[in-house]
Amino acid sequence: MPTALILGAASDMAVAIAKKFASQGYAVQLAARNAHRLQPLLSDIAIRYNVAATVHEFDARQFASHPQFFDTLPALPDVTICVFGYLGDQATASADWKECAQIIETNYTGAVSILNVISNKYAARKSGTIVGISSVAGERGRQSNYIYGSAKAGFTAYLSGLRNSMYHKGVHVVTVQPGFVYTKMTEHLQLPALLTAKPEAVAKAVYKAVVKKKNVIYVKWFWRWIMFIIKCIPEFIFKKMKL
């Protein structure tokens, strides 16, 4: 039975991804802060899909704990999916370093820290797949969320470099740019229905990308074009826009 590790397993997107992999016969390792909260998800997955499921305490910002966290997993996972992220609040973050640091450390530093540990193990073993859920917000900084966006931009660049480096060692890296997704993170926002994916759709796309060894995926295809257009806007115009 192949095994998938889900980092940041409490989010709606992570739950959908865990269920998708379990439904395809993967044992799942669910890692999150306050892992005891995931006990019901554990029984749910085990009962629905008849696979082994375990929960593990994991905090993206406790960098020093990452090597030990990974070493003590009951099995070396074949696929690692890095789902955790923190949107935060732009206005607060630009005034308050605590909020700002949390955004940067969760979305960038924490992800780099744990994926360094995992990719080294995968490289030594010469196999494995790493999936990073990044964000279209990282493709161009906008006034409404550039702290989050820049952390995700860093993460996207990291994943791209990691993919390049790991290619030569038999390890595959997938970058996911989900666009808008209906989740707890976005509950309070009014999202345009056409551009917004359900967590289940993201999960399906992630699974497919792993199977087909895709490099960079956008869950709804037009996001690729939207971001292309946004990136094409000349800076002297872009800086005047209210985005």
Binding site: A10, D12, V15, R37, P40, L41, S43, D44, I47, R48, K184, E187
Partner: protein, 430 residues
């Protein structure tokens, strides 16, 4: 109506929401037709939907309250189990099944949903969680089953399942020429586990009450055709026609009418038909055309469901007559039989229950008030889960133990922090 909806996935999120709320009502999938799960603030359970345990040997299932029945079926049917009681749609939550204490086509044999509950957890207005059952905190248990969410938010339910050999139903359909005949047939076939009749409300004169009685039993393996024997517990294929918009109610109505006529004139040339069908079309004929997470487009329609004691057949005739005279009614009415039930506030009581829907037009509400009086006069009552308009006196007169119910609500929800548009209208929380 403007309403703020809060969702949660974890216990600590729920207790934080409950503690911060000024007032709220629990909400499942919003499939009750009236205003029972509407309020300025609702707490929606749909993301709180995890399966906690499933004993496939003894048929015991335990889950969080936001899990929908379609999900329960997907897990239990392949293991040889079925829901002990199911309403006519599988897109309701387990919490909603408790809140309305739903009934199925097997009420005369198996009672309501709550008759199969082993125990459950309820979060009170204070945030405290109490485990109740027919033996523990009996008052809370009784007032929560059918209590329309007013005692607290059900968080966890453990209930017993029904053993099946196959996922198929051995179905019998019998045509009845009129109301007398259908009532006689109900009586004759009352040993059947599942029974329901569709009545054509437009027919007058000697065809008044023209109807089809649909009976069913879970099929045994040796009753299946050879091909199906290989995989007797197969789940029905999930081909659902979905609409990207809310279905206008006339579509639904004309669909049911077409279905009726098809059954009546089409393949039902014979008086009686016996066949083997999957559980899906038997229990959930409407689900096939309805997307589970959209509204039913029921705006513009009012549902009306009442029960009359067995001996009040005359009342049934009188009500159907009044409806066809006024020409106000729906084309179809659904008739079922209820067995004995001795609950505090659940709707079913022994007798006949009729469910109809009426297009909203001038004079309808006055007419329904008139019907209420006929129902009460014959010793019957209305189903709160389908109600959006009855007067508090009608509820009072139909439910003899209403005062006891109210006092239990008051005990566990002392400041009426938990309240709905319906409960305010019916003076249950005022």
């Amino acid at each position: 109506m403007e309403s703020e909806e809060k969702l949660f996935s974890f216990d600590d999120q729920l207790s934080a929401i409950v503690k911060q709320s000024h007032h709220f009502i629990p909400r499942g999938n919003g499939r009750c037709y009236g205003d029972a799960s509407l309020a300025e603030q609702t707490i929606n359970t749909l993301k709180y939907d995890k399966i906690l345990s499933f004993d496939a040997v003894n048929g015991i299932f335990e889950c969080q309250s936001g899990l929908m029945l379609d999900q329960v079926l997907e897990v239990i049917v392949p293991k040889g189990w079925f829901l002990p009681v199911t309403p006519g749609t599988k897109f309701i939550t387990v919490g909603g099944a408790v809140g309305s204490d739903v009934h199925g086509k097997n009420h005369h044999v198996d009672g309501t949903f709550s008759n199969h509950i082993i125990d459950m957890d309820v979060m009170l207005a204070s945030g405290e969680v109490i485990t109740c059952s027919p033996e523990r905190y009996t008052d809370l248990f009784e007032a929560t089953c059918g209590g329309m969410g007013l005692t607290g938010l059900v968080t966890r339910v453990k209930f017993r399942l029904k053993k099946i050999e196959t996922s198929y139903i051995k179905q019998k359909q019998i045509k009845a020429a009129n109301l007398e005949e259908i009532i006689r047939l109900f009586d004759e076939y009352k040993h059947y586990t599942y029974s329901v009749a569709w009545i054509d409300c437009l027919k007058k004169g000697k065809n008044f009450g023209r109807s089809i009685l649909i009976l069913g039993e879970h099929a045994k393996v040796d009753e299946l055709p050879e091909k199906k024997k290989k995989d007797p517990l197969k789940l029905p294929s999930r081909k659902q026609i979905t609409f990207p918009f809310n279905l206008p109610s006339w579509v639904l109505n004309s669909f049911t009418v077409k279905l009726f006529n098809f059954l009546y004139y089409g393949k039902n040339l014979k008086r009686e038909i016996n066949n083997i069908v999957s559980y899906e079309p038997f229990f959930y004929p409407l689900d096939a055309i309805l997307h589970w997470n959209r509204g039913y487009g029921k705006k513009g329609f009012v549902q009306y469901q009442f029960v009359l004691p067995l001996e009040a057949k005359q009342g049934l005739i009188e009500i159907l007559n009044r409806i066809s005279d006024r020409g106000l009614g729906s084309f179809l009415a659904v008739l079922k039989i209820f067995g004995k039930q001795d609950s505090l506030i659940s709707f079913p009581s022994e007798g006949y229950t009729l469910a109809l829907d009426f297009p909203v037009r001038k004079g309808l509400f006055e007419f329904l008030d008139e019907l209420d009086q006929v129902v009460l006069q014959y010793g019957g009552r209305l189903y709160m889960s389908k109600d959006a308009r009855m007067k508090p006196e009608v509820l009072q007169a139909g439910y003899p133990r209403l005062e006891v119910f109210k006092s239990i609500v008051k005990k566990y929800n002392p400041d009426y922090k938990i309240r709905s548009v319906q409960s305010d209208r019916l003076l249950l929380t005022k």
